[in-house]
Symmetry: C2
Subunit: 285 residues, 2 copies
Amino acid sequence: MGIVMKGADVANAMKEELLQRVAGLKEKGVSPCLAILRVGARPDDLAYERGAKKRMELLGIDCRTVELPRDIRQEIFEEKLKELNEDGRVHGILLFRPLPGHLNEEAAKRIVDPGKDMDGMCPANVAKVFAGDDTGYAPCTAEAVIELLDHYKIPLSGKRVVVVGRSMVVGRPLSMLLLKRHATVTICHTRTRDLPGVCREAEILVAAAGKARMITQDMVGEQAVVADVGINVDEEGNMWGDVDFETVQEQASHISPVPRGVGSITTSVLAKHVVQAAERQTDNE
Amino acid sequence: MGIVMKGADVANAMKEELLQRVAGLKEKGVSPCLAILRVGARPDDLAYERGAKKRMELLGIDCRTVELPRDIRQEIFEEKLKELNEDGRVHGILLFRPLPGHLNEEAAKRIVDPGKDMDGMCPANVAKVFAGDDTGYAPCTAEAVIELLDHYKIPLSGKRVVVVGRSMVVGRPLSMLLLKRHATVTICHTRTRDLPGVCREAEILVAAAGKARMITQDMVGEQAVVADVGINVDEEGNMWGDVDFETVQEQASHISPVPRGVGSITTSVLAKHVVQAAERQTDNE
């Protein structure tokens, strides 16, 4: 039976380090601050916002929400974003996406200050993550997987890692973070032939496909490490990962559950980014 | 014995299409123009420049070289780059790299107009290539591999492709171009364990490691397609690919030679980018 990799354990370990760094900033008179920019009030966004606020509070990071009406005009939305860019008290910005259909998300990505772009959405950060440049911010969920594997002391260098999913928020950036750590990375997706065969070759398997319980026992090699990034909610409101946890756990050396796995680490990564941003913005003054 | 994939055949096929598009532009009164910005006079740069000029001439594309002294100051260099950005007659810019050590290459990457950045070096184009957005310009050598495989009608969708090398000019962007074409892509590098074993799994193997004849027969699966991006010059001035051509050819279904393989296609891709840029800049007027 594989060891269960618990998100809370990772978040707790990160908390200790982050508390120290926040204290260090406060000694310099800097109060790290995250601004959440939310358009409308989608339940998913509100749930994540509650979690983020709680995490920031726990770490002594200020968190303010700017809520904009769902039918806001592009110009006003862009103005608000620019105000946050220019506000010296705000170190990081989190913009909930997807934006309502009438808003131009690509334009928003180009407007946000790369140094405040906490979820790695702007081209400058995307390019840095692609290039393996540490000064860029990666999407929080992608980086959460690295935090999970590091916390459980899973070596990455030289390992065969298979990432199932090629999205811009998980699959692609995570592949680049793994490559930077010298893993041999294979990126799979819906068009991959013999997905079970490819997955079985993985020493570390990351499921980020967004399809409930698609990774079954026959797709996992003996003693593989399995990280599950899927969050799939069924009609009855139950949450499922991309991995069929019960059967895969028998096969794996380590496995992360859903819920209480990778998803419990993302707000800690967000907090880490805010602290990094505050430190960098302070050093640059 | 594998079929030899000849760069000249690909370049000739591209020529036919590009000549038509150049004619289309000229009918609209637009004369597509590439500006080459060269600092100093390194022999490699001069050799590439000669090839590029010849290719542009063949296709009816104007080509002008701006040569700057090796010891130029950053401010003057940046001014020249900005002049080319603003010059409406110039549709595309090729900047030879690496720049001399005293110049800030990262700054240059951020200055060049993404719409004129013919070798995909600026963050906006890097991010677009990473995201699979066709409006971005990829590095010419990476895209030359796609042109080669397409010309020889090698299907990519669902295929297992192994890319050896993770540079920002070939390995990484090429992996993303292949992913966009729905290949299952594995990225290998110096830290990969059992490189021969991983390479043998490839239906299409791309060698872009920069190490002469490192891909040997035992690393290539029966009937694999092998594309060689290596250009390695030995002490006697002989040019070698990353693939041990003679032995690997016995194994492969298709193989590209060095020289006269991928390297013979890069200036055609450069020309294609200039034509694309001229078309886009004309459409936007």
